[in-house]
């Protein structure tokens, strides 16, 4: 009887120890900035005259969005993720969906990360019809018609792939890219050109940065302690 009590206490202590340990063990992070070197390419206006509805949504026109250099000289829409170093760890796909919106005949977000099996909630906010055509090579392609404003659909990707192109064949200028991964360790550079990959455990990682036009770059990084934040930098050069 006494032996059982001791055994139970030890189990409870182990559980408490684990609960206390896990958050601090996954507190490490990789942060960084995507620098851009050289002259930013001219962003020609997108010709949206193929659909008057799209044109009306942008009376002042809208620039091409394949290369966006931020005012601080950084590059937007770069997908940064852990390419190697996670071993055989598995990560459950989140239940909450990634929101993907068609608004102003453009995709929002243009570049994003999603886990295998995580729902992608696709919304048409436009007063015109779109088709959402995802062209993965490792998951099943899908092509969905979204003719009604406010219409929502959900899809998932079944295999990791960096990157999966999503396009609208009605409006050929519309293109988005999804980084489909087995894990949640990714980020996308925004208006400040920065990114953050959180909740990593100590270890050696290969980090890859992907851009639609400028391709990929990799960086090896070692995180030695659970509370370390490693700052790295990628530099993409004007071609």
């Amino acid at each position: 009887m006494k032996k059982n009590k001791v055994s139970m206490m030890i189990t409870v202590l182990i559980l408490i120890f684990q609960v206390a340990l896990i958050p601090s063990a996954q507190a490490a992070a990789i942060t960084g900035k995507i620098a851009f070197e050289g002259t930013a390419p001219a962003s020609p206006p997108m010709a949206m005259d193929a659909d008057p509805n799209c044109q009306m949504m942008h009376p002042d026109g809208v620039s091409a969005d394949d290369v966006i250099v931020n005012p601080n000289g950084t590059l937007k829409n770069v997908f940064v993720y852990v390419k190697e170093g996670l071993g055989d760890q598995t990560f459950e796909a989140p239940k909450e969906p990634v929101a993907f919106n068609q608004q102003g005949c453009q995709y929002h977000p243009k570049v994003f990360g999603i886990q295998v099996g995580q729902p992608l909630e696709i919304l048409n906010s436009d007063n015109t019809l779109h088709n959402v055509h995802a062209v993965p090579t490792k998951s099943t392609q899908f092509n969905l018609g979204m003719p009604i404003q406010g219409m929502k659909l959900k899809k998932t990707f079944t295999a990791p792939e960096v990157m999966v192109k999503i396009k609208c064949d009605v409006h050929p200028w519309m293109a988005a890219y999804a980084g489909v991964l087995k894990h949640p360790f990714f980020g996308v550079s925004g208006d400040e050109g920065t990114f953050e990959i959180k909740n990593l455990v100590p270890g050696q990682y290969v980090i890859e940065a992907w851009h639609e036009k400028y391709g990929t770059q990799t960086f090896s990084v070692t995180i030695s302690s659970a509370d370390e934040t490693k700052d790295i930098a990628f530099t993409f050069k004007a071609s």
């Binding site: 193929a50 659909d51 008057p52 509805n53 015109t128 019809l129 088709n131 055509h133 392609q141 092509n143 969905l144 018609g145 003719p147 609208c168 064949d169 009605v170 409006h171 050929p172």
Partner: protein, 298 residues
């Protein structure tokens, strides 16, 4: 005569359909309408963006399908030639198969084999209609074949050239539906096809002057020259200049014109081959005299 006029009109409509289909591929609009046979669940969706090309293609295809049905019924009712009746039915079968292939390309998201098959069947169907137009024309029905000593060789040159053009058409469709794969074979084949066409034109020119083959043969030679330039233009705008240029107006126009001219070349060569078989026959004894007769056999 009415049947001939109707089949000529259908040939024109089919050619428009080939151009419309070419525009769908060139603009990358093939999947802008994700459902089939309806378009976004309706008969007439808003004609915006890529839908303008894809839905126009479907409308023209529907019209050609109906016209082919009318042609088949007219042939079955008015014609006495059994083989022509069978050809009419085969042509209608081809247009039905073509519609089904079109649907499969949409539903299964442009599988390469089906897309290539769809492209090749389109041009085969065009040749069938051209053939029906020829078979129902006075040029065919009232022809009096003449014996000409080199007919055997001319028939074979034209036949081999037609086969080469058809093979080139398959290669072209593969290049087009696989973003440039097989372009080297398509380019090499172009030289063989050009040789065949110029040899065909030359051999037709060796036939007695004033025959009905000479004008289409000159037309075929001119088309081949134009096609060479259009092919180079397509290659430059769609493959050499990369993805950014692929959606440009010049790329779309070059590729579509190249495909449409290819259809005309194939149809012209089929026309020449059939007409040469009808108008010129090899003398049995091999002597050089030109003798008329034999029209009642066909």
């Amino acid at each position: 005569m009415g049947l001939n006029r109707f089949s000529r009109f259908l040939a024109f409509a089919t050619y428009l359909l080939i151009i419309a289909g070419g525009l769908v591929t060139s603009t990358g609009s093939g999947l802008s309408v994700p459902d089939w046979p309806l378009s976004y669940g309706s008969f007439f969706p808003p004609m915006v963006g890529g839908i303008r090309f894809e839905h126009s293609h479907r409308l023209i295809a529907g019209s050609v399908g109906l016209l082919t049905l009318v042609l088949m019924v007219a042939i079955l009712r008015a014609e006495k030639r059994v083989w022509l009746k069978k050809l009419g039915m085969l042509t209608f079968g081809a247009v039905i198969l073509q519609a089904v292939l079109g649907g499969i390309t949409v539903i299964y998201l442009l599988p390469t084999f089906v897309s290539v098959f769809h492209a090749c069947l389109a041009q085969t169907f065009f040749c069938l209609i051209i053939s029906i137009a020829l078979f129902t024309s006075p040029l065919w029905t009232k022809a009096e074949p003449v014996q000409f000593p080199k007919s055997f060789w001319i028939h074979r040159i034209l036949f081999v050239t037609t086969a080469l053009i058809y093979l080139q058409l398959i290669l072209g469709a593969v290049v087009r539906h696989t973003a440039g794969n097989g372009i080297v074979y398509h380019a090499l084949m172009a030289f063989l096809v050009l040789t065949g066409i110029f040899l065909s034109t030359y051999s037709v020119m060796c036939l007695p002057a004033g025959n009905e083959l000479q004008r289409p043969a000159i037309f075929l030679g001119l088309l081949a020259v134009a096609q060479l330039f259009l092919g180079v233009g397509s290659w430059m705008t769609r493959i050499m200049m990369g993805e950014s240029a692929r959606q440009g107006v010049s790329a779309v126009l070059f590729a579509t014109a190249h495909q449409a001219t290819g259809a005309l070349i194939l149809a012209s060569c089929v026309y020449l081959t059939l007409l040469s078989l009808r108008l010129f026959i090899q003398p049995e004894s091999g002597h050089v005299s030109i003798v008329s007769g034999g029209a009642d056999r066909i």
